[in-house]
């Protein structure tokens, strides 16, 4: 059936409002988008790594989660959900339950790209029937904007601050390294479904990929760009502008890898220059200082190279 945003938005929410995430936070938008793609008759158990999403949605004795929810620690949500899923399999085999469940692990980029990478890798390799969703806001937001391996090059973060002047190869340029390509790392695990997405326009890309992730048997991984207005320093109401520009500049290409086949799910008619995306965000403000043109050139060259590589994979 054709995707219809209005119809999808009228489904009961599995993560309700009233939680304490910031206004305009990309995390809850990503989570609700992913959960809307679960068929209404199916139940869910969601695991969440220690992160903004967790500390803001389940403050004892309250919870915004309408079904099963588990938080265990920072680096192990994939392993924790793999335990829940294993028990489900045991109970099913013993004929003790009849309902169908979906198991979804959510982690931020810190809990996924960095400290949780081993746990994620293990769970993907073992083949649990689960979906791992990274809501990627490109830094440790919960602890106060520290660099992660997902932070893009030159972004200003609290552990890679901008110095008084910026010179190639020196400290003080913001983060000194490019973002890790985690999606490709998970593709390397050979899992049945991997996708990179975000919420743009009518959420169709996110919805369809989430649906495939939920209903492809075995492990699936979704990497969802989920901007953070506080950390990225842009007005909260510009959330959808930011995600759109990330896609239109090819900084965050939308693609999926189904059973090893790479497929671009959106190709911008005209690839926009990276400045269009960078200039809206305070974390890149120093890139626009006189004399720092080389930084923008560096980023553009990197994006161009990665985009060309991706196009080749998707041919």
């Amino acid at each position: 059936m054709a995707y219809n945003l209005k119809k999808e938005s009228n489904k009961p929410e599995r993560l309700t409002g009233g939680h304490r995430l910031c206004a305009g936070c990309g995390a809850s938008v990503a989570v609700r988008g992913v959960l809307r793609a679960v068929n209404e008759e199916d139940k869910t158990v969601c695991g969440v790594a220690t992160c903004c999403l967790e500390v803001s949605s389940v403050l004892f004795p309250f919870t915004a989660w309408q079904e099963g929810f588990i938080h265990c620690a920072f680096e192990n949500v994939a392993a924790t959900i793999s335990g829940v899923e294993s028990n489900y399999n045991a109970l099913k085999r013993k004929g003790k339950i009849t309902d169908n469940y979906k198991f979804i692990a959510f982690g931020g980029d810190g809990g996924t790209y960095d400290i949780g990478l081993q746990s994620l890798s293990g769970a993907m390799e073992r083949g649990h029937d689960m979906v791992y969703v990274c809501y990627d806001n490109e830094a440790y937001m919960n602890t106060g904007l520290q660099r992660s391996s997902s932070t893009p090059k030159f972004a200003e973060v609290s552990t890679a601050p901008v110095g008084t002047k910026q010179a190639k190869g020196e400290m003080g340029v913001g983060k000194g390294q490019h973002k890790k390509d985690l999606t490709a790392i998970i593709v390397g695990h050979g899992v049945p479904y991997v996708a990179q997405t975000t919420f743009t326009n009518n959420f169709k890309d996110l919805h369809e990929k989430a649906y495939k992730a939920h209903y492809t048997p075995g492990p699936a991984f979704l990497n969802v760009l989920a901007p953070c207005p506080r950390g990225w320093r842009y007005p909260a109401e510009e959330l959808m502008t930011i995600t759109k520009l990330a896609v239109e500049t090819c900084i965050w290409p939308l693609y999926e890898v189904e059973d090893g086949e790479w497929k671009l799910t959106y190709e911008p008619k005209k690839k926009l220059p990276v400045e269009d995306y960078l200039k809206l965000q305070g974390r890149f403000r120093h890139l626009f200082k006189k004399g720092n043109e080389w930084m923008i050139e560096d980023l553009q060259a990197h994006v161009d190279k990665k985009w060309e590589q991706l196009l080749k994979k998707c041919k």
Binding site: V45, G47, E54, V55, V58, L59, F60, P61, T63, W65, Q66, E67, G68, F69, I70, H71, C72, A73, E75, N76, A78, A79, T80, I81, S82, G83, V84, E85, S86, N87, Y88, N89, A90, L91, R93, K94, K96, I97, D99, Y101, Q118, S119, S121, G122, A123, E125, R126
Partner: protein, 395 residues
């Protein structure tokens, strides 16, 4: 009537696991506990159990998966040793803090560094304050029996705390002994069905592991502490029921020739057997010596231990683990504290022994008993309570 079998401590543990048939076992290899996982995966492969076996990529993930499975309402087990237990450390607190029943067989081994694969108790002693019940086992039979009992204790509604069943790596884990197994049906009946009140699957909406603010965190810790106190009676009750089934009785600790003992050695796990031989030799000469073998270390049975030691003149507490605190090992510190309220206290010293698989001999214990005689005759002082036995160049 039980079944006589020749089994290593590891196989005895694996056999008990098979009889209990947990829903989920998640484990990672580490010497000397690996063998339990070998046996158990064979049971899975042969269809002798219908457990989901999760061959995780680390002990950290093993404990994480067990937490997920237990929260989902499953009966859950894992096995580890040494650094594996250390890697689980963060999550041990999560498991007990979320009040999730499960059993962890600890095949005791020394912690690094330097790396050493042999037996001491630095692994489980390091986890003594993690909110887990700890049962220690002198031999293969006790390892098996404690394992069977652990489920009833862990899942009891007054307790709901995870349990470590400890035995000595290689010494009992790899040594083959004649033991008596309980029939499968009897084990199943004894252990019963696990029916948690709340669980993630098929249990309605439930959030496990919320963020706990200063308004609630302290109360939750208090509840965990109370559960640990209540565990003592539950252990006694379960042990009594177990004795009725098997004829094998277990208390919080075993008193060996303690009735009129003036000199007492307190010890746990396999070295208790060696200490008993030393006590027998001295008893044969008419010396009043005894052994107190701890079975339950968490909760620590402080009042009962104090009472048992109240008539002794001198006590040596043996620790197969050093605390590096300048004062003495963990068992010593607890035993000595427990005796503080006695009207007349025995003199109590500590001996660190057998670290990293150093052989523990009858002579070591004879030496310690001899030292206790010296203490009775001439006393000791607080500078001289933290001692070592069996270290080259020291004694």
């Amino acid at each position: 009537m039980g079944i006589r079998r020749l089994l290593s401590g590891n196989e005895a543990t694996a056999t008990a696991m098979k009889q209990i048939n947990p829903d989920v076992v998640a484990a990672y290899p580490i010497t000397p506990s690996t063998e339990v996982v070998h046996y158990f995966s064979q049971y899975v492969a042969d269809g002798e159990v219908d457990t989901e076996f999760v061959a995780v990529e680390s002990e950290h993930s093993a404990m994480s998966a067990c937490i997920g499975a237990s929260a989902a309402g499953g009966r859950t087990a894992t096995v580890t040793s040494a650094c594996g237990l250390a890697l689980m450390w963060e999550l041990l607190y999560v498991a007990s803090g979320q009040r999730l029943p499960m059993t962890l067989a600890v095949i005791n081994r020394a912690l690094s560094g330097p790396i050493n694969i042999n037996n001491d108790h630095s692994d489980s002693m390091g986890a003594r304050d993690s909110g887990w019940i700890q049962l220690y086992s002198e031999n293969n039979q006790e390892a098996y029996d404690n394992y069977v009992m652990s489920w009833r204790i862990s899942e009891h509604k007054d307790v709901l705390l995870p349990v470590m069943v400890c035995q000595d790596g290689f010494i009992t884990s790899h040594a083959v002994e004649n033991i008596e197994l309980i029939e499968d049906e009897k084990v199943k009946e004894f252990v019963g069905e696990f029916k948690p009140e709340r669980h993630l699957i098929d249990g309605g909406p439930l959030s496990v592991g919320p963020y706990d603010t200063p308004h609630f965190y302290f109360e939750h810790q208090y509840q965990r502490a109370q559960a640990m106190k209540r565990a003592k009676q539950v252990i006694l009750d379960v042990s009594k029921e177990f004795a009725a089934m098997t004829g094998r009785g277990y208390g919080l600790f075993e008193e060996y020739k303690m009735a009129d003992a003036e000199r007492v050695i307190v010890v746990l796990n396999s070295s208790a057997g060696t200490a008993k031989v030393a006590a027998d030799q001295l008893r044969a000469k008419g010396e009043k010596v005894g052994v107190l073998k701890l079975r339950v270390f968490r909760p620590f049975p402080h009042a009962e231990v104090a009472k048992a030691l109240s008539n002794a003149k001198a006590v040596a507490v043996m620790d197969k683990c050093d605390s590096f605190n300048g004062m003495g090992g963990p068992v010593f510190v607890d035993v000595r504290t427990a005796c503080y309220d006695l009207a007349t206290r025995p003199q109590i010293v500590n001996y660190i022994y057998g670290l990293g698989g150093r052989d523990v001999t009858v002579d070591n214990f004879l030496y310690v008993y001899e030292k206790l005689t010296e203490i009775i005759n001439s006393g000791t002082n607080t500078d001289d309570i933290y001692r070592h036995v069996g270290v080259r160049g020291v004694n």
